[in-house]
């Protein structure tokens, strides 16, 4: 895990700075800046040193909890601290909802293969993986926010007025109203991916010999499915969750952008647009770290699900 983290930080660091001197790129369109001023900025951010030295400096600062200063002038650590929780809130709710929905529905779908319900589930799932996430968000905003006026279209809290839910203007209800649309979109997209996985695995498992043996020994259908088949069917889903958390959090920029959600993804888009390298590196590292921690949790959870795996 640690070598992987260092590997990723090296890849992103070197690739970013190898593209050219950031100060030159950022100030390209501004003829009034003199070369001496550029050099002063470089020295201020430590960009005048060779890349390996910069990397070691950056890494040792990170280890001390210092993410540097953004090109906008604020410490990156404080910025990330502000943006971190809204993203985690959005992601956690949607992941939990999508897992809770996709496992039973995927099993139901595999059990009744080619039934009307199965075809409905697979089509809904295929739509989910074929749709640009942000476009679904736009459509929901157009319908529920612009036309029906039921839900707010942007932000995490009502500004300047709280959004009334059933006529009650309360901060927590207001926040809930802001959550509904982005959570719906994220849940649907992640549900679509997971349900396809659960269904495919379940189909394969239902054909295997040990399920036949379990059925032959006279176990009830419920016990066969939920005790013998389920454990094997959800292992790949959990693996997928662990691997994809990076792209899930990474996929959030579109959703956070569409709904103007004050999270890491939304700010990352701004930082990438302005080439604010300290912020970019900080967010990349935080998201990578989250992915790796998720992977670790996944590896540990195998021990609970699969009795063949032991934690040493």
């Amino acid at each position: 895990m640690i070598p992987l983290l260092i590997g990723i930080s090296i890849i992103s660091f070197v690739a970013m700075y190898a593209a050219g001197d950031p100060i030159t790129i950022i100030t390209m369109g501004r003829p009034t800046i003199t070369e001496a001023q550029r050099q002063a900025i470089r020295i201020y951010y430590g960009l005048d040193k060779p890349i390996p030295v910069q990397y070691v400096n950056w890494l040792s600062n990170i280890l001390r909890g210092d993410f540097g200063i953004s090109f906008g002038g604020q410490p990156v650590r404080l910025l990330i601290g502000q943006w971190f929780w809204p993203t985690v809130e959005l992601q956690l709710i949607s992941i939990l909802l999508s897992v809770a929905l996709s496992i039973p529905i995927g099993i139901m779908s595999a059990k009744n293969r080619y039934s009307k319900r199965d075809i409905a589930v697979t089509s809904v799932a295929l739509f989910g993986v074929s749709m640009p996430t942000f476009w679904l968000g736009i459509i929901l905003i157009i319908i529920f926010s612009h036309n029906l006026g039921w839900l707010p279209s942007a932000g995490a809290i009502g500004v300047p007025y709280l959004w009334p839910v059933f006529g009650i203007a309360d901060p927590s209800l207001d926040h809930l109203a802001h959550l509904i649309l982005p959570v719906t979109v994220l849940t649907y997209v992640s549900f679509a991916q997971n349900v396809r996985l659960v269904r495919a695995n379940m189909l394969e498992i239902l054909r295997s010999d040990y399920i036949l043996a379990a059925r032959a020994s006279g176990l009830s259908e419920r016990l066969v499915i939920y005790k013998h088949a389920l454990r094997n069917a959800i292992t790949p889903v959990i693996t997928h969750l662990g691997i994809s958390l990076g792209s899930v959090v990474g996929g959030a920029p579109m959703i956070e952008y569409v709904f103007n959600w004050p999270g890491l993804g939304r700010r990352f888009v701004d930082a990438a647009m302005n080439l604010d390298f300290p912020v970019i590196m900080g967010i990349t590292m935080i998201i990578t770290l989250m992915t790796l921690v998720a992977n670790l949790i996944v590896d540990l959870s195998y021990a609970f699900i699969d009795p063949r795996v032991m934690v040493e």
Binding site: L4, S130, W135, G250, I280
Partner: protein, 317 residues
């Protein structure tokens, strides 16, 4: 279980049919797959005949702004403008039709790069094994965990700043530089999962008898890889390429929508981005380009899913 019994009895009498003929027969029976094929063919035909189908020429031609000059900016869909007109005064229908060319360009070229890299890495890792495999798979894992969309955004931004606005010549075809940078970067960041797939297939095939026999006969590595292993895993490569095309189209739309795309090449994501801030008024300019993306990606995904059913050796007739 009865299903399995039935399929087993039918094995013998069709031994002469080639792998591809069997796959095509299975594919034809799958209505979803045929629908996918029709959708993808439609996309290709629209892209070929975009000049005839569109009502107005593509930008940067000034005639693309005809609705603007007629004071028809932000008009809802009508007979005159089937998909309405955009907030900047172009005909959304024409924009969508012209966009199909770029969707195919993005999908096919990015996938070619992805698959090329994936086959290279997967083949070397799978064929040579041992420490080569070990190192390459560690690198692959690193790329899998990488938050790729975030890095794609940064890379696209950095490289498009230096790209300029002219055109690039490649084999006599002029390519839009910014979009081509997007395509290259999308291709480069997506190879990891496909490389794992190719490696797995290599490991599966190279233990089979015919490869062992060829090795015993003293064939060169090149011959074994290109004449014997690659043709046998071609079906998996084609099916994964189909799904990768769909994914690349989606990613490009996202990159363009977030404002990192090529402002001089009007892809579907670009249309969505141009009208996003005005979507309260010009909702049609958000709906129709999105439907075009959905149609194409859905088509490629249907095709890929059905191919995987048709080519799956475990379900052989």
């Amino acid at each position: 279980m009865t299903e399995q019994g039935r399929t087993k009895t039918r094995v013998t009498d069709r031994s002469s049919a080639s792998q591809w003929a069997v796959a095509w027969r299975r594919f034809k029976r799958n209505r979803a797959g045929v629908a996918g094929l029709v959708m993808v063919s439609t996309l290709i035909l629209v892209a070929i005949f975009h000049g005839f189908l569109a009502l107005y020429p593509a930008r940067p031609d000034d005639r693309a702004f005809t609705p603007f000059y007629r004071r028809d900016t932000a008009q809802p869909p009508s007979l005159k403008y089937p998909f309405g007109t955009s907030a900047i005064g172009t005909d959304v229908f024409s924009d969508v039709i012209h966009g199909s060319v770029w969707a195919l360009y993005v999908g096919v070229v990015a996938t070619a790069i992805t698959m090329g890299l994936a086959i290279l890495v997967g083949a070397i890792a799978g064929y040579f094994g041992k420490w080569v495999d070990n190192i390459l798979m560690r690198i692959t894992e690193t790329f899998l965990v990488l938050p790729s969309l975030l890095l794609i955004l940064v890379f696209v931004r950095v490289f498009s700043i230096s790209a300029g606005t002219g055109t690039w010549q490649f084999l006599g075809i002029s390519l839009p530089p910014s979009l081509t940078i997007v395509v290259l970067i999308l291709g480069i960041f997506n190879w990891a999962s496909n490389a794992r797939m190719v490696r797995g297939e290599f490991l599966r095939v190279q233990d089979l008898e015919f490869v062992q026999a060829e090795k015993a006969l003293g064939a060169s590595n090149w011959r074994i890889v290109f004449r014997h292993i690659l043709p046998n895993i071609l079906s998996s490569i084609i099916l994964n390429a189909t799904l990768t095309i769909a994914y690349a189209i989606l990613l490009e739309a996202a990159v363009s929508f977030l404002g990192f795309g090529d402002p001089y090449t009007i892809t579907w994501g670009q249309i969505l981005k141009e009208n996003f801030s005005e979507m309260r008024t010009v909702w049609w300019a958000e709906v129709f380009p999105g439907l075009a993306i959905l149609f194409s990606v859905f088509g490629f995904n249907l095709l890929g899913d059905s191919l995987s059913d048709a080519l799956n050796p475990r379900l052989r007739e």
